[in-house]
Symmetry: C2
Subunit: 373 residues, 2 copies
């Protein structure tokens, strides 16, 4: 009997998780018990991390302690910083630098009895690596982390050297919370496969960063805003988009593999972008993006009626992170800074399961080759 | 309807592959069309790499070209060497150093149109990294690779600085061929999950090294020989082993999750060890190991009748690599040097499949939590 092959495993349920529920038909995302809409705009980045890792929100004392432990782990080992400098000289993309230097973090961890020490160090240092690398890449010296600032605020501060506004921090935290977990996406599954071997957390996280780098990984904001910039003026939207559709190009920022109705993350990020505008953010790009969206949805319905393509998370991620003040090359690294909370929570959940993840393969190659040389 | 969960995916066939066939009930391993027994003792390391990557053996001109291209890629970027020095100062385990420094290899690759360039560089440099790190860890300077030597011979040369004997090279090549591929083991599956995102080969290989580091990864020779050294003299074998079994300890080196009959790799490695002895290898440990094996199998049958536990690949790997002249800490890194050929072949096969690997999860956490702070 020939066994059934499940390429891509998309029809297979590999685990039960307490971390997040993705319901593409209902357009519903639950993160650790909270509907996304309930959590994303309210929690700080630290609260969401604690929630994912411990399945409850911290009380005031626990939160202060947790924030303090994260802030205390923001200093990079000198070897990591040296490697960032060398990597910047080679002009490597930010995600490549993050993958490579993240691997060094386990090597200079102070010994600790705390099972969360490696998790805290990795999480605290991801923004430090990205910000330091970004500045080195642009010929600027890294800015030392500010231990008084929160996780998200300090990231923005280390990027620019400017104190971020409250609205910017809130916008970034809403984004980080929104992408903190999303079922068994590719990078999360990669992390679980690796950690299930009994290896260290850093190995799993480095593997996840490597997978997130891939262009087929969903959720990471790629060129969604590039079309908006290419269009440039509201009046050109219809002409440019119509030409793209007629050339058979996919419109970046619309449609999702899982969500058949509106992606709930898109709503949350769209609202966050609006709040940033209300707080004085750059209205030009925002208005243009809204107009492009409206035109794109109308044209998609015209050319592909009934396909019901919606604005996806990439579109609003790009818009929100642009309004927060980030350049496109920082979008995917910032996604990693948000998703590491989920990766780590999944690694701890997988460790508790105490079993390897190892499907079967069947062989279709030749047999009986003889050595004749 | 509650969907069926397949934790560990062990009952699921995830792909069809042309690379290797593992038949645990028949005790049969086919690698790219060759029964293991036909390939392992005949092929050079380079021939097996070419075979795995191109599904046929090279002709003489192709083989010379392939060997030359591998040999030309043995120089490490200076950044990689600097990182090895820093890592050695931190006394990190060899596998941690390999995972971390392997990540740097993609950053200083010369641009190339050859789709195999990254594969060749990674494969050629794995032994260089391990040997350089091993020497740095012991306060010695790395030995420059010898471009005239083959892949396996040069690895042994870089470790010790001595020209290896023909028997040692043959022994090591038999080992590297034997472990070059083995179906969907944990590290291979991790590499396939990562590369399926469309990311670079280095990301997939770094993830695989991280998974291979895990104690639950099969095949990597751990403490199998430690029991032999602990026993020390043939006369003590029965007493020590009996005490271990009665304390409920697992005897390392016996039994395998997949192979219910004798592991075919054990036979091949056992024969290779015998040939090394015939060529003048150290008979003391060999005779002791054989005696320990015989006693262990007899006692296992006495205490666990019908379980039919056999000597596994770890036991003979440890014996063979010891006879080749390696210390225990080099066993798993040397496994990686063999398995990278299979990892890369699987990555290319997965790329051709052009689909992500992403199973589903179901959610058992709470719902409807409200934000009240």
């Amino acid at each position: 009997m020939t066994p059934t092959i499940h390429p891509g495993l998309e029809d297979i349920v590999a685990a039960s998780t307490r971390l997040s529920s993705v319901d593409g038909l209902a357009g519903e995302l639950i993160i650790a018990g909270f509907a996304l809409e309930e959590l994303a705009g309210n929690a700080t980045a630290e609260e969401t991390l604690f929630l994912l890792w411990h399945d409850r929100l911290p009380d005031a004392a626990e939160l202060a302690d947790f924030c303090g432990r994260l802030a205390a782990q923001r200093t990079l080992p000198s070897v990591t910083l040296d490697l960032l400098r060398a990597t910047a000289a080679a002009k490597a993309p930010v995600m490549d630098a993050l993958r490579t230097t993240a691997g060094t973090l386990s090597l200079w961890l102070p010994p600790s009895d705390d099972p969360w020490a490696e998790a805290i160090a990795l999480t605290a240092r991801f923004p430090v690596i990205v910000a330091a690398y970004w500045r080195l890449l642009h010929g600027e010296e890294p800015i030392a982390p500010d231990p008084v600032m929160g996780h998200a605020a300090n990231y923005l501060y280390m990027l620019s050297g400017n104190q971020p506004t409250k609205a910017q921090v809130r916008g970034l935290e809403t984004y980080l919370n929104t992408v903190s977990d999303h079922g068994f996406n590719i990078s999360t599954f990669a992390a679980r496969v690796i950690i299930a071997s009994g290896t260290d957390l850093t190995s799993a996280i480095v593997g996840a960063v490597g997978a997130l780098k891939g262009p087929l990984h969903g959720g990471a904001p790629g060129p969604a805003l590039e079309t908006v910039f290419e269009i440039g003026r509201v009046e050109r939207a219809e002409e440019v988009l119509r030409a793209k559709i007629e050339r058979g190009e996919r419109l970046m920022g619309f449609g999702h593999r899982v969500y058949k109705v509106r992606d709930p993350r898109a709503d949350v990020l769209s609202a966050a972008a609006e709040r940033l505008i209300e707080a004085g953010g750059d209205r030009t790009v925002y208005d243009l993006a809204r107009s492009v969206e409206e035109t794109a949805l109308r044209l998609l319905e015209e050319y592909k009626p009934g396909r019901n393509l919606k604005t996806n998370v990439e579109f609003y991620t790009a818009l929100l992170l642009h309004l927060v003040g980030m350049e496109t090359e920082l979008f995917t690294p910032t996604f990693a800074i948000g998703r590491i909370g989920g990766w780590i929570a999944h690694c701890f959940e997988q460790r508790e399961a105490k079993r390897i993840i190892r499907p079967q393969s069947i062989y279709h190659g030749p047999r009986g080759r003889q050595w004749q040389r």
